[in-house]
């Protein structure tokens, strides 16, 4: 009988389930993809059912279930925080406590009740610490036998940052920075102040930062003031936040708006209002500080572990700009980042911690390849499923028996400037679409960025797009000396690709700068001549690689624009039905479900669907 462990993350945000069978990662998925509710925090019943089914394991045959944090210690942090700030924080206390008293204190029971829906046997339930789960998700699947581990996020139980060392099956946590001093929460506070949603808008802040002017007096002053008033940044990378300026420990928001306004000289930005240069400069200032902290922490991590490899996880590890800077710094020779670095990845980390630490099982031979299977760990669908959707929707399609003919046709379609929904094989685990649930287009097309943002994703016009490049051609386009399979490194576009900046580039209006053609691959070259690269391996994702390669044969360019298959506020599509619905609601030109090609011009509109945008809350 194989030994299987089910990992669960739930009840905060981004619930997910993952399963290991004899230590091998078999399946993992976010609950939001099934329930169609972005960042769904509820118990991942659908994801759990799916991973068990994928593994062919009955719940009653599980060796253990691992939950990704320790609720009691989180409660301890909550009580001690209120105790230390009393009498402040009464309102927040009154709103947080009912949730705890009614639900979260009884999490074990809640969890057991939910698990009982999966099977009637009492399976041991383990609770590894939040940051240990992150550390395990970063180290165990990495391609390294030995590595330094850095985990960074908002907060787990107490820890907000940990430095560790992994060797074989052992993980040792060496240093810890505790709440309320948190790089993740600092970044979230700026996300909030710049008018974006906490816990989902951090990506937007990172995308906005390059619009800031690094030479501007205002940016320099912002940076100085942040370090003077808000953050005490130490040489070793630890930070102390001045809680007089932050409200998250005892209040119901991230920052004390009035105090921030006094220091920064600009008011809090209203969500969805116009973006002005001052907020871009502010975004740049905090991004620069974040990068500085990460580099200092990396140096300390290197000194403590004496390792040449580093692995990262935790929400801050999704800051691919700082990851790119870390790679470039040369502090470590090699870097590996867990693709599901956020809390959803905790499900996998918890299961891995249970397997290697609780069960004491050895790691399988480390071969230089990571164990994530390209992060393609979600459900896939058969030709029958696709045909069923087509029939149900009355959709017209063209079926390609031969894969090569499919690549041939789709590369033509792409080269003509069309936008294609590309839905293939198993869904990705983690927040990025990596070519199985992607919307793709021609990176050379100067209109592509605008078209994708405004007509397909219905999101803010300033947001950048990322390229998928075949592994063999990385250096042709980017200053990237290694692979980046999970789109977690931002690096400069190659010098030879760039077109010179016009005079006074940094002083131009945002959209004038944005629509300046910065390179011969303009739609994926961000405003600061950088790109968030995904390298595509022929072995790991042959279909996607073949499509890009065919596109290269026709155009000379071995890369495409790749963005996740969803609209703003919607979770990435999971089923062919989700894919078809999303295709029909947007101005996407073609949809490819497996070997079935749907042309928008041939489809009839979905009836009574004009209010669909109200379905998804804006993120």
């Amino acid at each position: 009988m194989p030994k299987a462990i089910l990992g669960i993350s739930a009840y905060y945000h981004d619930s997910a389930a993952a399963i290991l069978v004899d230590g091998e990662i078999i399946a993992a998925a976010h609950e939001e993809r099934f329930t169609r509710k972005k960042h769904d925090p509820s118990f991942p019943i659908n994801a759990a059912k799916y991973v068990l089914d994928e593994a062919g394991i009955a719940y009653n045959d599980l060796t253990a279930v691992a939950f990704y944090d320790k609720p009691y210690i989180k409660f301890e942090r909550l009580l001690e925080t209120y105790h230390s700030f009393v009498p402040k924080g009464l309102i927040s206390f009154l709103s947080a406590m009912p949730v705890w008293i009614k639900e979260k204190l009884f999490m074990k029971k809640m969890l057991n009740d939910e698990l009982a829906k999966l099977g009637d046997k009492k399976v041991p339930v383990l609770f590894p610490e939040h940051h240990l789960s992150h550390a395990a998700s970063a180290f165990y699947p990495s391609p390294f036998e030995e590595a330094a581990i850095l985990t960074l996020d908002g907060v787990g139980e107490w820890a907000t940052t940990t430095i560790g060392h992994g060797k074989g099956k052992e993980i040792q946590i060496l240093r810890e920075l505790d709440f309320p001093h948190s790089l993740g929460l600092l970044y979230s506070a700026f996300t909030y102040y710049c008018g974006f949603k906490v816990n989902s808008g951090e990506y937007k802040l990172m995308g906005l930062a390059p619009y800031g002017n690094p030479q501007a007096e205002q940016t320099i002053t912002f940076k100085k003031k942040i370090l003077e008033h808000f953050v005490d940044m130490r040489e070793d990378g630890s930070i102390l936040l001045n809680m007089a300026y932050f409200d998250y420990a005892t209040g119901l928001k991230m920052a004390k708006d009035k105090k921030w306004e006094q220091v920064l000289g600009i008011p809090i930005r209203k969500p969805e209002s116009n973006l002005t240069q001052e907020y871009m400069n502010l975004a740049l200032a905090i991004q620069m500080i974040t990068e500085d902290v990460v580099l200092r922490l990396a140096k300390t991590t290197q000194e403590l572990t004496n390792s040449r490899n580093i692995v990262l996880a935790g929400g801050v590890a999704l800051n691919c700009v700082s990851n790119g800077k870390l790679l470039k710094s040369g502090i470590f020779d090699d870097i590996w980042i867990q693709p599901a670095a956020g809390d959803a990845g905790g499900a996998l980390g918890a299961a891995l911690a249970a397997w290697h630490i609780w069960k004491g099982e050895e790691r399988n031979a480390v071969t230089g390849q990571d164990a994530m299977k390209g992060a393609y760990l979600g459900p896939d669908f058969s030709a029958r499923d696709i045909e069923k959707v087509a029939r149900k929707s009355g959709a017209k399609y063209h079926y390609f028996e031969d894969d090569n003919q499919l690549y041939e046709r789709i590369s033509d379609i792409l080269a003509e400037g069309n936008v294609v929904g590309w839905f293939q094989g198993r869904m990705e685990y983690g927040p990025r679409a990596l070519g199985n649930r992607s919307i793709i287009g021609d990176a050379r097309n100067p209109e592509m960025q605008k078209k994708m943002n405004l007509k397909i994703k219905y999101r803010e016009g300033f947001r950048p797009f990322a390229p998928s490049v075949i592994e063999e051609d990385i250096q042709e386009y980017f200053e990237l000396p290694t692979k980046s399979p999970y789109m977690l490194l931002v690096v400069p576009v190659n010098e030879k690709r760039k077109t010179p900046e016009p005079e006074g580039y940094n002083d131009l209006e945002m959209y004038d700068r944005l629509y300046h053609l910065r390179s011969d691959i303009p739609s994926i070259t961000h405003i600061d001549y950088s790109a968030r690269v995904q390298s595509v391996s022929r072995d790991v994702n042959p279909r996607y690689w073949n499509l890009i390669n065919k596109f290269k044969e026709k155009t000379g360019y071995g890369l495409l624009v790749n963005t996740s298959f969803n609209v703003r506020g919607e979770p990435i599509v999971c089923t062919p039905e989700d894919g078809y619905r999303c295709f029909m609601r947007t101005e996407m030109d073609y949809l490819v479900l497996g070997n079935y090609v749907f042309d928008k011009k041939e489809q009839e509109k979905i009836k009574d669907d004009s209010n669909w945008q109200e379905e998804f809350e804006l993120d």
Partner: protein
């Protein structure tokens, strides 16, 4: 009962007995809340819950 056992185990393990009176009062509050109100809605800041 299992909850009380776990809670005691937690206080012992973490040596945080000073939290006990706080927790007892909170649980009494809790009983009140359960009997007086419908639902508990989590505030949006995730550090709180």
């Amino acid at each position: 009962m299992e909850f009380l056992k776990d809670l005691w185990g937690f206080l012992k393990e973490r040596k945080k007995f000073w939290l006990l009176p706080l927790i007892v009062i909170l649980l009494l509050f809790g009983v009140l809340i359960i009997f007086t109100s419908g639902s508990a809605i989590a505030p949006f800041i995730y550090t709180l819950f």
